[in-house]
């Protein structure tokens, strides 16, 4: 598994207390539709990404296409890293 995806998955398992759910959560499946994150959870994800990958996130970038699955988030992180 690529490093970014693996870090995201570990973060979800460590912080969202849902190891059983995660076993069934595909890399393209929606965090929102699967009830993985709530209003606190999305803030936790934002701060995890900023902290782990050293990128600055603007509110306008916190969109479903960037933050709603492991693959979306990994792709977003790669795009941000390229422009750094």
């Amino acid at each position: 598994m690529p490093e970014i995806e693996s870090k995201i998955q570990k973060f979800l398992m460590d912080n969202f207390v849902l190891s059983e759910q995660l076993d069934q959560l595909g890399f393209d499946e929606s965090f929102l539709e699967n009830g993985v994150v709530d209003s606190t959870g999305i803030l936790e994800l934002v701060f995890f990404v900023e902290d782990q990958f050293g990128i600055q996130i603007d509110t306008s970038e916190v969109l479903p296409e960037n933050f709603d699955s492991i693959n979306c988030l990994a792709a977003y992180i790669r795009r941000k890293q390229k422009v750094m």
Binding site: L32, S39, T40, I42, T59, L63
Partner: protein, 328 residues
């Protein structure tokens, strides 16, 4: 008139009668209480609930309680006073700033705010929690930011850290819970019930404090959308100054509207989209009826469902492993 605008209309006279009969039945006959206490905020929901309580119990059996604190808008007390004098009920003003100070509410709040704005000065700066702007205009997840307003400077906004967000929410919620405590004090002293003011938007979307404003014996307008409450307000002769006032949270010093703090869509449209969903209409039908794009409607529907799903905990009463057997 569009189908959804037409469907939003409530037969107000019949609805007021239905609600007040139910209130009388529960308060007098089931709960064996002699009247009701209503926490008034100066907003439309509590004004309507006060009016309904007067219709149900009589003006001599209703007490209105206004509980300002130092971050409350001065306008709220004027509005609360106006609605209370319109309905002629017993009025108690209970300033809760000393209680909140003693509980450490403002110190906790300041510490949490300073995690985001280290130079925050509570004597001069004002703050509010906000979600990204109008969901109809722009997509975006519900990521809370803190806005700081300082005289002579443009507004600053920063995404909150999870710790700061939880700290601000926990401290702010002490305000609503202190109000609930006072409502029950007066209710018990008078042998009255506490009549809650939550509407359907607040209840279903989780815009209330568990055991705060969500703590009550009856919630007579919980089945009604905000747009329908406006219809009742007109019928019940709620002062026009209250009907015309923008709904606010009146919780944070900067003052924020309920739309910018939580709902992200004007009530008028939000309620119609919601009603369309209730009626089993598809996205295309709702969009056509309201002259919106399907993408806009989908965005609002997704947000409604997401908020409902993630706030289920707030609506859950204390659980028991096994049900209590009924009386034999």
């Amino acid at each position: 008139m569009s189908y959804l605008a037409d469907s939003m209309q409530v037969p107000v006279e019949r609805e007021v009668s239905r609600i007040t009969q139910w209130m009388k039945q529960y308060v007098f006959h089931e709960f064996k209480r002699r009247g009701g206490v209503v926490g008034v905020s100066g907003g439309i929901d509590s004004a309507v609930v006060l009016a309904l309580s007067v219709h149900a119990f009589g003006q001599n059996r209703v007490t209105a309680l206004f509980m300002p604190e130092k971050d409350s808008s001065p306008e709220s007390q004027l509005m609360a006073g106006e609605v209370v004098s319109r309905f002629g009920v017993n009025f108690i003003v209970n300033e809760i700033t000393p209680a909140l100070t003693a509980l450490g509410c403002y110190d906790h709040l300041m510490a949490a705010i300073r995690e985001t704005f280290p130079d925050y000065d509570p004597d001069h700066d004002k703050v509010k929690l906000v979600l990204p702007e109008n969901l109809l205009e722009k997509p975006g997840l519900n990521v809370f930011s803190l806005a700081l307003l300082r005289e002579g400077q443009p507004e600053q906004r920063k995404i909150l850290s999870p710790r700061a967000y939880l700290g601000i929410v926990a401290a702010s919620n002490m305000k609503q819970r202190t109000r609930m405590l006072n409502l029950y004090f007066h209710a018990e002293k008078l042998n009255y019930a506490v009549i809650g003011t939550s509407n359907r938007n607040e209840h279903d979307q989780g815009f209330f404090v568990k055991y705060g404003d969500g703590g009550a014996d009856l919630q007579p307008i919980r089945h009604l959308l905000k747009s329908q409450i406006y219809q009742l307000a007109k019928h019940l002769d709620v002062p026009q100054s209250i009907i015309g006032r923008t709904p606010t949270t009146d919780t944070y010093s900067a003052g924020s509207t309920q739309e910018e703090f939580y709902f992200r869509v004007p009530f008028d449209l939000l309620d119609k989209i919601w009603l369309g969903m209730d009626r089993g209409m598809c996205t295309a039908e709702i969009a056509k009826d309201l002259d919106l794009s399907e993408e806009q409607v989908d965005r609002v529907l997704a947000d409604l469902l997401q908020k409902k799903r993630t706030t289920e905990y707030l609506r859950t009463i204390p659980l028991s492993l096994e049900p209590i057997p009924p009386e034999s």
